[in-house]
Amino acid sequence: MTDGAVYALETRDLSREFGGFFAVNGVNFRLARNSMHAVIGPNGAGKTTLFNLLTKFLPPSAGMILHDGQDVTRLSMPAMAKRSVVRSFQISAVFAGLTVRENIELALLREHGLAWNLLGRIAHHRRVLERADALLERFGLTDYAGTMAGSLSYGRKRVLELATTLALEPSVLLLDEPMAGLGHEDIGRVTQLIREAGKGRTVLLVEHNMNVVAELADTITVMVRGEVLAQGSYAEVSSRADVMAAYTGQAHE
């Protein structure tokens, strides 16, 4: 806290306990504005827990979370979304009973002041329709606009979730394992989408696929056993022996 810089997200001594076990243990984490930041670490390192704490999916046991320098530790998930901090989910979260277009339109409702419109029709709001069209086009979903989201392939659900999330134009985008369960072709496409999405906004991703992390992230935080082990660029982090040891389990003390 000596540099006085304000971070998009910052945690101070953040901890989360599950029945005596500290999944996240006194983590001081900083997400610089306009960075593309990845959190990595072996299974069980506490990445997902940290992510869930940052996105208010879980309340912390101790510590503080700041957004743009303001304490947001006690805020709810919707409140964070209203502050333009939006997350995606590891298991693709789409509204299965709505069509692809309806999914995207949903994200646009609040911004256009329509969420509490009880009697109107979305079809009467041209601006929403146009923006939805543009998003469908941009994410290659135009041909699926009328398809029920629940019947999309796994990869397409991922893309739809990303499109829905980006429809909110978030200033901070939090992605929970965006490549989980995707095939090779999809990984390339989603990587490209994330890179584009990252322009002009802050992105934090938890990801296992090191190729993707190396390609996308400018900053990497390595977590092990609930604590931050290392932080830096891919080259810095991957050259550290303790990081490799944490991954491969090879003796290193």
């Binding site: 029945g19 005596g20 076990f21 072996p42 299974n43 069980g44 390192a45 796994y154 394992e177 989980a180 369960g181 095939g183 296992h208 696929n209 090191m210 190729n211 056993r225 490799m244 040891a245 991954y247 491969t248 389990g249 090879q250 003796a251 290193h252 003390e253």
Partner: protein, 233 residues
């Protein structure tokens, strides 16, 4: 040596989504074999498919020539296969002792409680505490100890080192070596390559629900580079 577990063209689904696309591999009696691969490759699913814990599976899983593909999980367990899940599966509403004694005996020759406690002395003083009040390492020991008691000879271990400190990892490594010496057959799922290297007779590398390469234990060091690229390290 006879083939203890022979898996042929195994396909499996979670609900609608297909996760295993034709797995072929085998584990011979007394061997330690690992399944390696990155997250989402289908390693855990393979173990669950062998135990019959998925909605749908097809292909063949033969245990000493007996087909298991249509059998219910409890019958598969009764045939002498024990499963130690990734999340360890310690029951919060059971004491350590109850957790330890929960799996019923499926065959003669299981370890006695005394033997298990010699293997994992840490558990001795904690027998009456609540199962989930143990540390991560102790929970892993309990999860392992629990299936040694049953008399099962084939152990399916899903990432026993996950989230554990190096010292505990070494202890678990020693335990697996001891178990091998005692004649157990072990199918191990690991992300921790270094841990797996020291233990296994053979390795299978998995990608997208298939086995893409088989590496004998001796050739492991030489293939480490290729392996790391497979695992995306």
């Amino acid at each position: 040596m006879s083939e203890s577990l022979a898996v042929c063209d195994l396909q499996a689904w979670y609900g609608e989504s297909k996760v295993l696309h034709g797995m072929d591999f085998s584990v011979r009696a007394g061997e330690v074999v690992t399944l390696l691969g990155r997250n989402g490759a289908g390693k855990t699913t393979t173990l669950k498919a062998i135990m019959g814990l998925l909605d749908k599976r097809s292909g063949s899983i033969a245990l000493d020539g007996h087909e298991l593909i249509g059998a219910a999980p409890y019958d598969i367990a009764r045939k002498g296969i024990a499963f130690c899940p990734e999340e360890r599966g310690i029951f919060a509403s059971l004491s350590v002792r109850e957790n330890l004694l929960l799996p019923p005996k499926v065959a003669a020759g299981g370890m006695t409680v005394a033997q298990i406690l010699t293997l994992f002395p840490n558990l001795k003083e904690r027998l009456d505490s609540q199962g989930t009040k143990l540390s991560g390492g102790e929970q892993q020991m309990l999860a392992l100890g629990r299936i040694l008691h049953t008399g099962a000879r084939i152990l399916l271990l899903d990432e026993p080192t996950e989230g554990l400190a190096p010292m505990i990892i070494r202890q678990i490594g020693r335990t697996i070596t001891e178990l091998k010496a005692l004649g157990f057959t072990i199918l191990l799922v690991e992300q921790n390559v270094g841990f797996a290297a020291g233990l296994a007779d053979r390795h299978y590398i998995m990608e997208l629900g298939r086995v893409v390469e088989e590496i004998p234990g001796a050739a492991f060091e030489g293939r480490l580079g290729a392996l790391k690229s497979y695992l995306g390290l």
